[in-house]
């Protein structure tokens, strides 16, 4: 990763966007992190930054509680993929621009790369691995399979989670509205027609 820009920002402001997000995230998570916060709060320049101290986070993923000791900078996506070996959620851009990392947080679709894991304490996270009931596919998964709503499969978990969220939101009533509201999920293979068909089938079921 080319970090020069972030690096320059750090020299100017004494903090990086990632660190700042980390601080905000920690604060909003309301965790007992006084020593860490006070350190980060002193806005030390990067090159003097103390190691991020590990934090214990309790995540509820697909109905099961996962307790992790994490670097506070770990995103929800990386926690899922790298710490919990739940690699169904994909990293396509790490910037919330492609949608491959979409998961459901309390039923609402989010880009898991834009959420720090420590922000998700108390959130019910549902990933692609949590949609099927045993061998029985979730209707959206079955519809994607039937309508060939994918090719390479890399955007697919995000598309499916997003589609499940979209149906639950209940705002998309026309093809046009479904397309618009699914536009945060890029499929470079171009299975868009088929994804639309899959969503419509589930909506009208």
């Amino acid at each position: 990763m080319d970090n020069s820009q972030e690096d320059q920002e750090a020299q100017k402001t004494g903090t990086t966007r990632r660190q700042f997000l980390g601080q905000v995230g920690l604060a909003s998570a309301g965790l007992q992190l006084v020593p860490l916060l006070s350190k980060a709060g002193s806005m030390l320049p990067d090159n003097e930054a103390a190691p991020a101290e590990p934090v214990t986070v309790s995540l509820m993923v697909n109905g099961s509680r996962k307790t992790l000791t994490l670097d506070t900078r770990v995103t929800l996506l990386d926690a899922l993929r790298e710490k919990l070996q739940m690699t169904g959620s994909k990293k396509g851009c790490d910037h919330g621009q492609c949608g491959a990392c979409t998961v459901l947080a309390d039923g609402r679709r989010i880009n898991s790369c834009l959420h720090l894991a420590v922000m998700c304490e108390g959130t019910e996270v549902t990933t692609i691995e949590g949609l099927a009931k045993g061998e029985e596919l979730h209707p959206m998964q079955a519809a994607f399979l039937k309508h060939d709503g994918f090719q390479c499969g890399y955007c697919t978990p995000g598309q499916i989670c997003s589609a499940v969220g979209l149906v639950r939101e209940g705002h998309a009533h026309t093809d046009e509205e479904i397309r618009e509201q699914m536009s945060g999920n890029i499929c470079r293979c171009g299975a868009y027609n088929n994804i639309l068909d899959a969503i419509k089938e589930v909506q009208t079921a």
Binding site: D2, A52, T87, G153, R179, S183, N185, G190
Partner: protein, 773 residues
């Protein structure tokens, strides 16, 4: 036989893909893995004076920092064939010296216990450069263009027929214009990733690649490790589109770091890094001159392309590759020139050559039609090439006229306004456009192993890969038909260099290349089984004639008496065999030169030997193909709506009719073609990788600034197939399908936009600003 091929069955890997169970390169659960994050250059040209890793190296969790000063030395790779291993930048092997040839070049790798630690430390590496003035800007360096000796795989880049200049003088109607296309980025959803594991002197690399065999060969050659000690695995690949066809630095950096730090190392490139270090389509400027008589018959076609390459390798985008054969013309002049710039090296991207070449040629045809006052579709029919005029061969199968006819009907071509810029639907200007699609049908030598197990299931092993195209599914259908088994009894395993060598996923060649040996291997296994049964007094088929016995429903039986026979597995169990297997290699290639035979004693040589007694291989190899040119064709039709005030373009309907030989699976085939068309739509309307005109670094290096088509951009698309088997390309009759969908699409859209607005935009992408000025 042939009960399953062609059927629109669901993808056999679909369940894994919709449940998150498909495992991509960076996802293999390797114990004790360390994370590598690369540091990339912030200058565009120069030398690295110093890399200060002091602060970064002391950061928590950092295992080490690999630079040109401490990394292992690599050997120079030889090949230029991606299937056999093509390193993308032959003069810039990773971290081998202090030179910087482009912005965003890998210059160091930080390896740490966690991704976060590595990423943070990478930001702390201080690099001091001796900066030099880079060569930036395509247009302003056009005068430095030179003629390359050849293109990829020795492809011709300067082609002449007749005397185009003289003929142009006599032409009654002429067009002459320059068309430009920007740099495009593949943007496969999975960024390039490699996970390298050393176990003693054995190296395993899980890699996002379109060629496990190519990466294996390169790792062996460049690292100096015997080939049998290298294994490359790519079970699932998150798209490639050419970007994972050549091999880039990532697998080497992972393997080098894993050795250096004695840990498995995973390097997953950031999206931003993919733009600079993992290929792109080159920028082009194409001057096209057409000359015709009053009836519309082409007399001369001239297509002169300038494109750009890097200073570290030579890649030619052969934009004129289809020009000598697409239309009938006695006089043709196609040339290609290259400019060198301080940019990362371009590489093949979905229909390299044809994609941008058909844009310019097919817009030029539209311009010629207008000057002649002939319907653009009619102009194509007048100039239809009945034979391949450059190679002087007949086409193995060509049904292009039928494509035009069916496509015109489906889009409602008769509604196409005769005069541009006048017709409205509501407040929108409406326009129709069309273009011809074309892509060669490639095939290369491939092999496969088929095994039938005593429990009744069968397995196919083939060292090709499924990059999303549906190879797992199609191979299953082919094998199931050959075994006479249902789909759920056949398992196809791909994406492992331990398997018999299969084709690289490039050039739309996989189905045509690996389909025949998969079929032949399965037939070979069945044949062995039947031979055993005939010789076995315990079999109901004892002493029957071989030619009277067929397979189906998991049985072998007499073709005239289905009751006389037995299950496949009965033959095995009676003999106490747990399996029966067969290897097959088909040495058929559409390339000018046949591949060299496998070295004596190698596993491949054994397969070649066995294939000599395989009837299916022999029939296939003995087919005389010398009289034929192998090409797919199609017709693309588009209807657009343009906002007259804002210049926004809405593609309202797309129709494509494709002549690609036999359709192996209608469901995956339609999907593939639509995907290609959407790639073409992106080219036409939005995609544009922009470089800073001053420092030459990439500006649009994320998915907010580099736009690709999203759901909201895509209308309902209609795809039709002629579905006529091409039995010269292979016994299966299928030509490639991955790339043709993109060809002609940008032109069809550009022509529709002209039809709607009367504005001829010869500079892609066609963005609203170009329409409202």
């Amino acid at each position: 036989m042939n009960e399953l091929t062609g059927k629109p069955i669901d993808r056999v890997d679909g369940r894994l893909k919709v449940t998150g169970g498909a495992t991509y390169a960076a996802e293999f659960p390797v114990k004790n893995v360390a994370y590598g994050v690369t540091v990339t250059s912030t200058i565009t040209k120069g030398r690295i004076k110093n890399i200060d890793t002091g602060a970064a190296g002391k950061m928590p969790g950092v295992l080490g920092i690999m630079t040109s000063e401490n990394c292992m030395q690599l050997h120079f790779p030889a090949g230029s064939d991606p299937g056999a291993g093509k390193y993308a930048e032959k003069d810039l092997l990773p971290l081998q010296n202090d030179r910087v040839f482009y912005g965003g070049q890998h210059i160091a790798v930080v390896v740490a216990e966690t991704f976060e630690q590595a990423e943070h430390a990478a930001a702390m590496v201080k690099v001091e450069y001796a900066e030099q003035t880079p060569v930036v800007g395509f247009e302003k360096n056009a005068l430095t263009a030179y003629k390359p000796a050849s293109g990829l795989g020795g492809a011709e880049t300067q082609v002449k027929r007749g005397d185009a200049d003289a003929a142009m003088q006599t032409a009654a109607v002429k067009t002459d214009a320059t068309y430009t296309t920007p740099v495009f980025s593949h943007n496969a959803m999975e960024p390039h990733a490699s996970l390298a594991v050393w176990e003693g002197d054995q190296l395993t690399v899980y890699d996002a690649t379109q060629s496990v065999m190519g990466v294996k060969a390169l790792l062996s050659a460049m690292l100096g490790v015997p080939a049998e000690k290298v294994r490359v695995i790519a079970h699932y690949i998150g798209g490639g589109f050419g970007s994972k066809g050549f091999t880039w630095a990532n697998p080497f950096l992972a393997a080098m770091a894993a050795r250096q730090f004695n840990r498995p190392v995973k390097i997953a490139l950031a999206r931003q890094q993919v733009y600079s270090t993992a290929g792109r389509r080159t920028q082009t400027s194409q001057k096209i001159a057409l000359g015709a008589d009053r009836s519309g018959k082409l007399l001369a076609v001239k297509h002169a392309t300038i494109s750009e390459t890097s200073f570290v390798d030579e890649f030619v985008e052969t934009a004129g590759v289809a020009t000598p054969m697409l239309y009938s013309s006695p006089n043709v002049d196609v040339s290609h020139e290259l400019v060198r710039l301080n940019r990362g090296t371009p590489c093949p991207m979905r229909a390299p050559g044809e994609s941008v070449g058909t844009y310019s040629l097919e817009v030029a045809m539209d311009e010629l039609a207008e000057k002649l006052n002939i319907d653009p579709l009619q102009l194509r029919l007048i100039n239809h090439a009945d034979t391949e005029e450059q190679k002087k061969k007949q086409f193995s199968e060509k049904s292009l006229k039928e494509c035009y006819e069916r496509g015109a009907k489906a889009i409602g071509w008769s509604n196409c306004p005769a005069k541009p810029g006048l017709t409205k639907e509501g407040r929108y200007l409406v326009g129709y456009g069309m273009a011809t699609a074309t892509y060669p049908a490639n095939r290369s030598a491939s092999s496969a192993k088929a095994t039938l197990f005593a429990d009744g299931h069968a397995e196919i092993l083939c060292g090709t890969q499924d990059i999303g195209t549906g190879t797992y599914t199609i191979a299953t259908q082919i094998a199931a038909d050959a075994f006479g088994l249902p789909v759920d009894k056949v398992t196809v395993k791909l994406g492992d260099s331990m398997y018999p060598k299969g084709a690289q996923s490039g050039g739309s060649q996989v189905t045509a290349s690996v389909g025949p040996p998969i079929r032949a291997a399965a037939l070979g296994a069945v044949d062995k089984l039947i031979t055993i049964a005939i010789a076995d007094p315990g079999s109901p088929l004892h002493n029957q004639k071989r030619e009277d016995i067929i397979t189906g429903n998991g049985r072998i039986f007499l073709k005239d008496d289905a009751n006389k026979g037995e299950p496949l597995v009965a033959v095995l169990s009676r003999k106490g065999l747990d399996k029966i297997e067969a290897d097959a290699k088909t040495n058929v290639s559409t390339r000018p030169s046949l591949p060299a035979p496998a070295p004596a004693g190698s596993p491949e040589a054994k397969t070649e030997e066995e294939s000599k007694t395989n009837m299916a291989v022999q029939e296939d190899e003995n087919t005389d193909r010398s009289a034929y040119a192998f090409h797919s064709f199609g017709a693309q039709f588009v209807k657009v709506l343009v906002d007259p005030d804002l210049g926004t373009i809405k593609v309202d309907k797309i129709v494509g009719v494709m002549d690609i030989g036999k359709v192996m699976n209608l469901k995956t085939a339609v999907n593939q073609i639509k995907g290609g068309m959407i790639f073409g739509l992106g080219m036409a309307l939005m995609e544009n990788l922009q470089y800073d005109p001053n420092n030459g670094r990439i500006v649009t290096r994320d998915l907010v600034q580099y736009l690709v088509p999203v759901h909201a951009d895509i209308p309902e698309i209609e795809v039709q197939f002629i579905d006529r088997p091409d039995l010269y390309i292979s016994p299966l009759g299928a030509r490639g399908i991955g790339e043709i969908g993109v060809t002609g699409m940008a032109a069809a859209i550009a022509n529709a936009v002209y039809n709607a607005t009367g504005k001829r935009i010869r500079d892609l992408p066609i963005t609203p600003d170009k329409l409202i000025v």
